[in-house]
Symmetry: C2
Subunit: 477 residues, 2 copies
């Protein structure tokens, strides 16, 4: 195997795809736009799922499962929803050898089928709140796809909650936005901006959409999760009312929120380097790899020494030992670096004689010769350090590439150059937003909390009118 | 709520559906044949998944994810496979507003799409064995459906393994059959028969199919999991070869194996009674429910006493405390029994005064007044006892309803009566098998290990010719 990863400098997009394919995280499938998630990529998703699922359950949610197929007429019940999703639908017209009376669409998202069930389940205020999450596959017919980042079929979770009043539904919307931010920062070591979307960017059917947005190394933003306040839109479309404690009939209020396998793409792009994948230890399927270095005459003793070290640490860390005899140590080091294992332990005959092991950090390449007896504690420290240091590095990168902009010429210059997050006073007009998109490809990623106050007394950098918001613009995935 | 469960005596089929709906395990959806798995049903599936997934990983398997949609031409590449599955396919003809050049089918099972990828991934003997599992939804257009037991869409896992030789693939097939048996018996407390299927009953595309079969309370068999030795059928259909150590090119050998949400139906039917769901503690989402019994004047003190008891035991068991004030204790007892919680702890004012708690078993209804200080240990013992006792009861039922048959009249009588597992000397001829099916609706469920030896010297109960197998016949789901 002579694996070659294009450098970021040379071609950022090829660099990303090279890592995904060479590290065997995913592969192209024979079905246009659909990928295969290979075991090493799926293991990342499983660790993400586990952490998120725990957080969902801690905040009172339960998992359920709703049908893959949705009657076409359901999608049409909410006006904005159908407009947004109709162009992306896959349609089942035949089943069991016969043409169906009504075509069924494969879920692009499940608001409609879920709210048709909520109508059955919700009668009284005692049935509320209803806090349900689903782990599922969804399908959106995409013209241009990229492994993990945008695929026709993807895996995700979608939370769908029903509440007795607007405030509680809004609170839920923001609570889950917070859960996503915590997950991104504490597990993925990926700093994110949070805030509301402009009307042009919100979910089809939502009253308000909130998002977490991360800055990739090419200085493009990636929307990594969304949380929607749906108002009563779906309750009205599916006639879901409840009886209040006072006996009145009211429409139910709703939120929905989701993250997908796109997060795997975000994780790869946030931390990796020209040698391959770099993973935060909390989500690394293998946290430590032990590589014994031996020749024929030292093989038995080194494997024994390395094997017993491996046995000591395996109950604490997710570990592998690479005893393969077909590849050289140098080849193995490069391979394990490419696969993103956070800590490598090299053990050769001299280490064995001296009671040492060599511990190597994936993120910095730093090598530390450690007494064998102290190595486990060293690794424990490194695991924590690497997690924090990846976050700090990404945070510093985000800050370096976030710029406050005052004038339109400055805005044009920013996006003609390296780009990044541009914090821009905006008059709130769709025309101004559209102008920036047309001329720079940048869109509003979020309107952060407190942005209205921050905009007071400032002039819109696009129109020169009074600014209503400090908007974060960026080119995006 | 006045929940009423039909008795098994009255109508077994209604009894089952009543439990599924009243215990809120699943619900009918607006899409024909597709169900919604509600949170209480999904929690069962999650516990099953977790246990199975651990067992798969312990036996060296990794999870991955393959596309939902399969080009129609792929299904046609293996002759028996297409014959078996073509009538059950759902077909996507349109995507993104356009008619597709080639229709895509929703996976009824994933051999074809997976083997098209294995062709890319397998070159040399070093790439083998390849041991991959997928957790996914699949879809088979069914004419008659029943919640959990047979639905158009269902959730399952499907293992797909590739091996260098036939023996290893056969060994894998039997290893996974063993994993299923262990899971069924140790987690579900559901005794199963294992064995090979007759040709008439095997998977479309397999050389040999093995199954675990359980006996439900209506004495019908339920196929609860299958493991297939696929020979080189899919390797040949998709041209998957590997280079041996000697440099020869050989076709790869395969197995596949799966269990589905049907297991939830099996679990319900194996243990439940006329009062509702009965669950084995290992898979019960709630193992212990604490029900404080109070009036206005005792409320504060009883809730305090019960709450502190709940706090003591909740780290050891999956627990709930039912502090609801709208329903009477009697209503609550019935409700928690209906939901299948294995152990109920009732705590009233007198218990509090005497330092006692009342512990009630769901399976037998036995009530044990326990010193509060000893209750946690008592519950620990009960949890183990109930698990074992449910298995023993089901095993005894299976044995009582398994009969060795010598003559055809005896066979007819057996299936005209209560039925069960009939162990029948069989000549191995499809005609004899078909005759029994036509006249009694019973089919061969399995040919248990050692059945050929056991048949030696005996005469087929159907044809009178020399018996080749001792076959287990039963009516089935």
């Amino acid at each position: 195997m002579s694996k070659k990863i294009t450098s970021r400098q040379e071609n950022y997009s090829d660099w990303y795809i090279d890592i995904v394919l060479q590290a065997e995280l995913a592969d192209y499938s024979p079905v246009k736009g659909c990928m295969v998630i290979r075991p090493r990529g799926y293991a990342l998703w499983e660790l993400m799922q586990r952490a998120l699922d725990d957080m969902f359950k801690e905040t009172g949610h339960q998992n359920a499962y709703f049908p893959l197929l949705i009657p076409e007429s359901f999608i049409q019940k909410e006006a904005e929803h159908v407009e947004g999703f109709a162009p992306e639908l896959a349609v089942v017209t035949h089943g069991g050898g016969e043409k169906l009376e009504e075509p069924l669409v494969i879920r692009p998202t499940s608001e409609t089928i879920i709210w048709s069930m909520y109508k059955k389940w919700i009668q009284s205020y005692r049935d509320l709140p209803l806090l349900i999450n689903q782990w599922a596959n969804v399908l959106r017919w995409e013209k241009r796809t990229r492994l993990f980042l945008r695929t026709t079929e993807f895996l995700w979770q979608e939370g769908h909650t029903a509440h007795a009043d607007a405030d509680e539904a809004r609170e839920e919307t923001l609570r889950m936005l917070g859960v996503y931010k915590t997950f991104a920062e504490e597990f993925m070591a990926m700093p994110v901006l949070t805030g509301k979307k402009s009307d042009a960017e919100k979910f089809a059917g939502a009253v308000e959409t909130y998002a977490i947005e991360a800055l990739m190394q090419d200085r493009k933003a990636l929307q990594a999760g969304t949380s929607h306040f749906l108002g009563q839109n779906f309750a009205k479309a599916f006639d879901v009312t409840y009886q209040t404690a006072a006996g009145e009939l009211e429409y139910v209020w709703a939120s929905s929120w989701g993250v997908s396998t796109r997060l795997v793409g975000a994780l790869i792009m946030t931390h990796s380097d020209d040698r391959g994948l770099v993973l935060p230890p909390k989500l690394a399927p293998t946290q430590v790899v032990v590589v014994p270095i031996f020749k024929n005459e030292t093989k038995a003793s080194v494997l024994d020494y390395a094997g017993s070290f491996y046995d000591e640490i395996r109950s604490e860390f997710r570990c592998l030992i690479d005893k393969d005899e077909n590849n050289s140590p140098g080849w193995k080091f490069a391979e394990w670096e490419m696969r993103g294992v956070p800590v490598r332990v090299e053990i050769g005959p001299r280490d064995m004689e001296n009671g040492k092991v060599m511990v190597v950090r994936r993120d910095t390449g730093e090598k530390i010769l450690s007494d064998r007896g102290e190595a486990q504690e060293l690794i424990r420290t490194l695991i924590t350090d690497i997690q924090q240091s990846l976050f700090d590095r990404a945070k510093a990168f985000q800050e370096e590439n976030t710029k406050e902009i005052s004038s339109y010429s400055e805005l044009l210059e920013f996006f003609a150059g390296d780009g990044g997050f541009a914090v821009v006073p905006w008059d709130g007009e769709p025309e101004s937003e559209a102008k920036v998109k047309a001329e720079t490809k940048a869109t509003i990623r979020v309107l952060p909390e407190g942005n209205e106050e921050a905009a007071q007394g400032r002039l819109c950098a696009i129109s020169g009118k009074a600014a209503q918001h400090m908007a974060v613009f960026a080119k995006s995935y």
